[in-house]
Symmetry: C2
Subunit: 155 residues, 2 copies
């Protein structure tokens, strides 16, 4: 979908706060609220905007721990890779899952209550998984920046 200058400016605002009133957005970018509304609607329908969500403090929900895992598979058959994707995706504690190039196959980002919970999950996902060759764990001490914001290229 072709995005013009106005669309980009709208997205720039919504990526920071999607509760911004359309009237305010209109004022800032020089459009009427109605025009803004129609553009947002279109971007939602066409999949430019993929989701609208509240971000919640993970500690408040009892999942203070962020853990990264690099997973290497034994067998990289398409079928087995798809199985791994499905398995990892199905776990609620897996916030993010990426299929990557290189000597590692997957990178996972987990949110968990305690190390003990990670240990349990580890058994299910890795030790109990015949196709996992090895995995490497990184524990986050601090989330310095956490966003899905994409920079807007202005011309």
């Amino acid at each position: 979908m072709a995005l013009d200058k106005f669309d980009l400016e709208i997205l720039e605002i919504l990526q920071k706060n999607n509760l911004t009133p359309q009237r305010d957005i209109g004022d800032r970018i020089g459009l009427s609220a109605a025009a803004v509304q129609r553009r947002i609607k279109r971007m939602r329908e066409t999949g430019v905007i993929t989701a609208d969500v509240s971000v919640v403090d993970q500690s408040e929900l009892g999942h203070p721990l962020t853990i990264f895992v690099e997973v290497e598979l034994k067998d990289e058959q398409l079928k087995l890779i798809d199985e791994a994707k499905q398995l990892f995706s199905s776990i609620a504690e897996v916030q993010q899952c990426y299929y990557v190039t290189g000597d590692v196959d997957f990178i996972l980002v987990l949110a968990l209550p305690t190390m003990s919970d990670y240990e349990k999950l580890t058994r299910k996902l890795f030790f109990g998984n015949p196709n996992v060759k090895k995995f490497k764990t990184f524990v986050s001490m601090q989330s310095v920046k956490t966003t899905f914001e994409i920079p807007i290229i202005k011309k």
Copy 2:
């Protein structure tokens, strides 16, 4: 802040779609819209809800590439670590930055237009940085799951 059963149910909904009308939420969990509104307001004020954002398709914004970087510093003085945190955070293409334990100091998640842009950024962040000992790059072939959702523990 103490969250009760209702708060958790609200958060479960808002994490998936924060545009859900409060009346709908109320109907689903058995509260009036007014009660839902007050609870959401309080959770925003107390920082339980840290942000409300639209998530945008990165390809649509010309940043189809997702890259992970493990960064290892030479000197782990507090001052130099803070400098690194600030530097990484300040880069718009750095979506996520974590300070981690182990043989690596930082893990970065980047969103970029092309490999050539990564190469350029690499010079600025790593090669041109006297305190970076080494860094390791992983290129994502597929974003299998990307969310900040935290599981809700129901009793």
